[in-house]
Point group: C2
């Protein structure tokens, strides 16, 4: 019931405080704008006395209006709660709103708003008294890419207090146009795991986040899989107290990162036995909304060196195949899950109520996925 | 000799490679622009077919010129090597260059270039084989500010392999308009310490970086000192294996952060005994280029509850007072140092060759300061 109650109805049922326009949590310092109203509309304001035109690009373009003091403002249509990238536009230029923090997305550091009102936002909110893990930013040299790169590594609360304990590892990928920072700054992965572990709902685990954009040093194309398997996993197993086997190694990702997670999880069966795909597809043949490849027994059986030849083998060897997306994204991933189920391949499907192809969907996916890991 | 050799002369003396235009290390992915030439001029390029005017703001405004394909370009005057913030401007709007990463500075996420060519750039460059420390991003609750905030904590290589060893701590502050990310992303503090420790030139230490912008929860003004002394230091001494006494606790900062470092180091004598001020002043009375306050024996003796009343006591109780700036910043800090010396107060002065009020100066200041700490 709670889940299907609309955010607006929920907000209306809450305290008077929410009737105020609230600054977006992404605002810099104490900037009052952008503001989100109880009707989920976002009001933007930019000071640009000399500008001749200005608009906000949030799903669609909203032309702004200038007042006599040089402040440009516009209020958007109602937004779905969650995290949304946006930009300002003028004269053919797209740029950031100086009022808010930027987040690496859309291929650059990009402005974003957080529309509050999710009935379940507690799960990605820090709470006093909850033991905190740590997120490490590590510069590492990738032989495959021939360059220094940065990864983020989350270690759970207690990691440093228990110097003899070893932990399972989740490799977690961002989406297209994003990088290794996404799951921390947009996704709150560390907060989500801290909260789940404190409630006893998830096993303490290490989470590794690397950028999925990885060109081979020799220019011969995409080096992502080689970088993860040859550079990253060995470094993690050497530097951290991991349980270094496939039974204790998971891979998941969102959107483009889901495709990468399936490629790693299904393509390197000796390395992974837990797989999560959030808002992304398993590519079998030529994928369609109800994938042609899935319909074709030959393509199906040939995919990933025959991983889908034998359901009995698959079910005995993979602990979890988790498929998820947001309700507003449509039914094609449910179709993919149903088809796998029809053919006997165990999988778990999760759908985030109301949300679209954005970070609230993926925070919920991680919450549901993490509770099923390493058990 | 090497230090006073100009970068241009140095570059001309180097391999042919440097005669090419090189992409700025701050460029996103493989973006070719901005490019830095061997003459230290920076060429900017932006694709904006519909824009009617565009300029680059780098110290001064450089109007860009549009070609028939809609690419706007301009080449700057020669720049001093190092890290420089810049912006694009059009019709009264200031915004970021989508070709480069942004860095939190100037009060927002801001574009920046790194002009190579420093004769000593090795010291802030990662080197294979150098054992790496770790940088933790920690969300913490500040009772003083009544909010969750983020701090960065650097632990040296070996911290996790030596679970019984305790370490001294340096509290390190950014400058005005920056935040806790500055010393890692602009300053490479982790790389500098990794390199110094590997060479045996610095003692392994923990470095704590917090945002210096800290309003009290009750709106009663600046809560920075209370936050550091009541929230941050206790958390660090509880969560990390620190040597928790003034003999093993240092504070330093740059520009505005230098003023904060002096306020903490001189104002909380029970907490700190090592102080570093990079490109910033000790405020005694009304500071002038040769500070009036310093000339006035009464103001001098009254400052910081009389910390400068007794040179013998000061020299016996403070291990290090380190004052530094960049050569291009002028002589006033050397004057401050000389005056303290004349009055018998031990201090160390360092000047970064050629550089201005920017991050190469502060990387060098940290390198010189860190080598003198905890010895």
């Amino acid at each position: 019931m709670k889940k299907i109650m609309s955010s607006l109805a929920l907000l209306l049922s809450m305290t008077g405080a929410v009737f105020a326009q609230l600054p977006s949590p992404t605002n810099l310092g104490r900037n009052p704008y952008p503001q989100v109203g109880p009707d989920m509309r976002v009001t933007f304001r930019v000071n640009a006395p000399q500008a001749t035109s200005l608009s906000v690009s949030l799903g669609k373009d909203y032309p702004m209006v200038k007042d006599e003091n040089g402040f440009w403002t516009v209020t958007s249509d109602p937004q779905v709660e969650g995290f949304h990238y946006y930009s300002l536009k003028t004269g053919g230029l797209t740029f950031n709103d100086p009022s808010v923090h930027s987040y690496f997305g859309t291929g650059r550091d990009c402005s974003a708003i957080e529309v509050p009102g999710a009935p379940d936002e507690d799960f990605y909110t820090p709470h006093q008294g909850v033991p905190q893990g740590a997120v490490r930013s590590i510069r590492y040299y990738s032989k495959v890419c021939g360059q220094y790169r940065r990864m983020y590594v989350y270690t759970p609360a207690g990691y440093e207090q228990n110097p003899s304990k070893r932990y399972p590892v989740l490799y977690l990928q961002h989406g297209g146009g994003e990088d290794e920072t996404g799951w921390i700054y947009q996704g709150f992965a560390d907060v989500i795991l801290d909260n789940l572990v404190a409630e006893g709902k998830a096993v303490p685990m290490i989470i590794v986040m690397v950028s999925g954009v990885a060109q081979k040093a020799d220019g011969s194309g995409d080096g992502f899989e080689a970088m993860v398997t040859e550079d990253v996993i060995p470094l993690i197993d050497q530097r951290f107290r991991t349980l270094a086997d496939r039974d204790h190694r998971a891979v998941a990702g969102l959107s483009w990162g889901a495709k990468q997670a399936y490629d790693l999880g299904l393509g390197y069966r000796n390395l992974f036995s837990w797989i999560g795909g959030f808002s992304g597809i398993i590519v079998i043949g030529e994928f369609r909304v109800r994938p042609a490849g899935y319909e074709d027994p030959e393509q199906f059986a040939a995919a990933y060196n025959g991983i889908f030849k034998d359901a009995t083998w698959f079910n005995a060897n993979y602990h979890l195949l988790f498929i998820a997306n947001g309700e507003a994204e449509g039914a094609h991933l449910k179709g993919m899950s149903d088809l796998l189920t029809e053919r006997g391949f165990n999988n778990v499907f999760y759908q985030s109520p109301r949300t679209a192809h954005e970070w609230l969907t993926w925070r919920r996916c991680l919450k549901e996925f993490a509770q099923r890991l390493f058990k």
